[in-house]
Symmetry: C5
Subunit: 308 residues, 5 copies
């Protein structure tokens, strides 16, 4: 497919990256139903690590099989499929070349207790991402955690290695731990800050949660009020987050959160779209539904991002 | 021996592995009395490390000599023999080529106190596994331990090196420490989760304990109940654990536990077999018995896995 | 531009450095309006990391775009532009060769709590500084912090690598943490000490805050009094800090601090100049003002350092 | 000297080692008065590190000079001389080729407090052992210490490197720290366990203290009683320890302990010999005595091991 | 200058060192007024790191300039000049070849609080010592500190690298921290022990403080009393320390301590000389005095060591 001017413009924002990285970003942006639109929808399947197999796959037992998720992502015309090492290894050969892959390189789990220093185990490497034919690596940081400085130092080292290998870098920036309150994890000031930090450490694609209108930090509150930063609607808040990512020069995608009603989800994604989000990452909301229902839902989501 | 279609099918599940790894997996699956069945029985002798020499070998003093265990495993027609560095070094020359070897690369001991952060010392390396002619390396992780993230990061690094060297990776996944209760260590939700984690970090063969019907975590309990996941019998639970390992696409073997009555053990193994277990790891239950009795018992066990 | 004798004299003070380092120091000293004067004014934009995007850029929303800062620094005729990895990546291609760049290699943030052991995450590398065409790397140490020994050990390793690559080394030396009081962070004895430590670890350019006349440590107080060290005026104190940097043989620049009235700022900078400061680093006081106003202010600042 | 069948048989037990390691083991077993007997007596001089110079050498001030110990070991016809880096460096040139050397690669000291996590500092390296013409490296582990897992991981790495360089590996296995009681440090179950652990980590020569009949761990006590393991005499206990080292396939030597009456010492060593000990390590009991007396005593000790 | 037999004899004590190390030791022993005597006086200037610039240089402001110290050491005919990286960098070019240099590779400071685990930051590297034309590296260990094992492990690694590069190794062995009392830091048993530890880790030149007659450890006290070790005079104690350094086979120099009366200092140094000290390290007592006075004092000190 010939590259659209739209995509060329986005790639130009990554002006310091080598051709290998640009080609892989282009591959993601030129795949699936959203090819050429500059938008992207990603299927992530790391919930088995995070919540265990039963909580992830018992609702739709086909999901125990890694091939199921590859097929779902390919047939739904998504932009990329993201998963931990073992899961990618179980399908990367069969589905080679059919969808861009993102190796999630660190993982949390619900068996380890977290307290104030939540962190993740390293569960993959750049050399394995290359061996599996991935287009990008994914890495989670927990801004606010007492382990945050270490996690940021880790992504620095990994991103350097990934970029040298021509891989794109996707950073999940999820504030938690330390002095961050539960509400603060999705507060607008914290989410915008977390997104900005991801941009500053050199992420090509930034993933955050949809922010609420709550403001966590007093110093930030003063500025949001004195400068009248609009945060009343989700659209406003998304706009602010996108702005916080180098004035929109970095791709920012939003997670779908826990499984819930289809209408709620689609309404939220419409607002994300209107706010200028680059796309969505939809996991449990898709693969925990029956296959046809999931395909239909993902079609509705990609349609939103195609502006239909 | 010509490879059976059975084994080819299993190897196909390891679709991202290099020919070296596949050859070593095949070697294990084509060795001993279970050759070609897709099942495997392994003799592990790391109890000396874990409980000390007297508790391990005083019952059958021939076991103080490493050669004894090599002979037992070979003569019983087992699929592989697993032990720490020193023990393998003491027999790898004499018995070279007679049975696939697994170098257990980390080890716990009963002299170190554990509390909430149980861990193991690294006691071997990939280069030593190669020097000793091993087919695989073994590594234990303790999901739930406050040291779990570090252990998972370690296996990531070691597995990467092992796979590059064409060695198969066996992960002992034994939940303990942190907030995990004593009953929780063998709870069905925890064991299935631990097995799934081992699959996600890229294990070729997963070793867990036979799970009980106890459920440790509340969030998991809700799902086991709402989705009516059958866990009433050991057979049911084993089926669930196998399903949690990529829908049966990874080999899952179960430990024999502490030494006990022969009938109990064989009954348990029959249930494991019926639940779809790939095999058993039987240590103290074999080598603490007199030689002929052990051979007879192991013969009964392999017969179970041969469906006789 | 032909190099002035002024600059040659400064370069001679770096008598153990290789020609690569000297060329990069010369590049900074021969750029912008202060070229050849031996003085320098640097624009740093790491406040987004330190305080978040809203607190940094909401006052002047053009600042969300990295290009804005490159343009501001270039058009104001500054000596160099300093920023974290992601921000430099977003403009280093477009503005290549127009202004010397300093890659800030570690970064703090307001989401991580600090207590007695404040530290920073490593967010860049020497190889990336080279890839982006930088002239120098920047690194912060926190003398007094319980993490200070580790931070100093880090800068030792990084500075070694940077110098081998011909890059200049700028050290932000900001006392805090441990037993240092809030007032102590800018106390004259502490600031002079922090500047001296930066010189001893091999910094080419040292950045500290303008010191107050407060004295933090009793042992120091005795000497300031017995030796009648003049610290009554800012000019006196700056002179003492410059003296503490190898009798003026190292370049010492002072930060502008939080945003405030223009007149206050210019008055302070005049005193810095009279005390013998090598220059200023001015961040929020410039980019949070409207563009023309910022240009005008920076022009006034460079004029001070040109002795006009 | 032509190698005895005795020694060939011992070397055959190290069946996985390369010719370099075997040659160095042979060198130790073919040196001094015990050459060819399969027994060995080693002079260790690391007490200066452990207790300081006065407590070690004031009784016999000639011992302050490293050369004294080289001469004593050579003239007494011992099998090897073991010491820390600095001490070996001070004589390895003068006495090159006259006695096999063992570089003690980690060291404790009485100035550092230990509490529950006793450990040792690394004070040598394999490359230095090679440079000094050593035949082996020595390393202490403290089973039971809260630092034990780290120490075991260290010896794994060092032993790998040493074996690759053809050096033999001697492990001092001294339980202490953690939950181990003072009496437990020499309890028969603990000493046998510690010796077995050293064998499992791949030691060629294992050094432990002569065990008492005390039993530290309840789980072990049950087995010692139910299996009627004889531990009444030192001879019995040594036999049990030797058995715990791969049924006698590894060399096991015993320390002489603190300085004391000559008769007591010789009586103890006779029992060690009768129990099947491979030899003794005698430090303070030799070098704190006058030279001639020490020579005489060491002669009596080697005579015991020659079965005279 | 032709080498004296005196020096050849000393070099023979370093029998395991390569010609590069011996040449650098010879360079120090053949420089300045003490050339060929086997004695040495070193000027160390690391007080700026340890106490800050004002406490170090305000008394004699010329000392703010690194060149001042180079000149002082050269014109006083000293044996070597020791300082941290930045200070050496500031003069190593100008004064190349005029005096042997020692790069002090770790440094403490008065801003970091210490408590029971005092340590130092690494502030230099062997490759920088080579680049600056140094003859030796210097490193401080704190025996007794809870960080002592780590510091000893560090010097092991650094000394190995230094020796391979032909550099001599000077170890500052300063007991402190842990259970060491304030008086214990200079107690005779502790200082002798600390000196012995430095010898055992492979130091070529050992630096300690002049010991008092206080005895810190009970176990040691027993031996000092039972063996009647003379410690009544400083001369006696120095003799004991020298003996503790391989019976005088290692060079041992003593620090001058805090600045004080000239007569006291000279009297102390005379006793050091009579006790067999290899020399002195004199910092603040020289550079805090006016230049001519300092030159005169240093001349008196070197005269003492020349036996005049």
């Amino acid at each position: 497919m010939k590259m659209t001017g739209n995509i060329k413009k986005i790639l130009n924002n990554y002006e310091s990256d080598n051709p290998g990285v640009k080609a892989n970003l282009a591959k993601i942006l030129m795949s699936g139903k959203l090819a050429g639109t500059g938008k992207l929808v990603i299927l992530p399947v790391d919930q088995g690590f995070e919540h265990g197999p039963a909580r992830s796959f018992a609702k739709n037992v086909l999901g125990y099989d890694p091939h199921y998720h590859f097929k779902l992502a390919i047939n739904a015309g998504l932009s990329a499929f993201a998963a931990p090492l073992g899961l990618l290894e179980a399908g990367a050969g069969t589905f080679a070349g059919q969808i861009p892959l993102i190796l999630k390189m660190n993982s949390s789990n619900s068996l380890s207790r977290e307290k104030s220093a939540p962190s993740q185990a390293i569960t993959g490497s750049v050399s394995e991402a290359i061996r599996l034919g991935c287009s990008a690596i994914g890495f989670t940081i927990y801004p606010g955690s007492d382990a945050a400085l270490d996690m940021i130092t880790e992504i620095q080292e990994i991103a350097l290695e990934a970029k040298d290998a021509g891989l794109a870098v996707v950073v999940w920036s999820y504030p938690r731990g330390g002095d961050i309150s539960k509400d603060g994890e999705t507060a607008i000031d914290i989410v915008a800050y977390a997104a900005h930090m991801a941009a500053l450490v050199g992420a090509h694609i930034i993933k955050v949660k949809p922010p609420t209108s709550f403001i966590e930090q007093n110093e930030a509150k003063k500025v949001y009020e004195s400068e009248n930063i609009p945060i009343g609607t989700l659209k406003d808040r998304v706009k602010h987050v996108v702005q916080s990512c180098f004035h929109g020069k970095r791709l920012v995608v939003f997670s779908g959160g826990s499984s819930r009603g289809k209408d709620d989800l689609l309404k939220e994604i419409s607002e994300l779209y209107l706010g200028g989000a680059s796309g969505s990452i939809v996991g449990r909301n898709s693969f925990q539904r029956p296959y046809d229902e999931a395909l239909h839902l993902l079609n509705q989501i990609t349609n939103i991002y195609r502006g239909k």
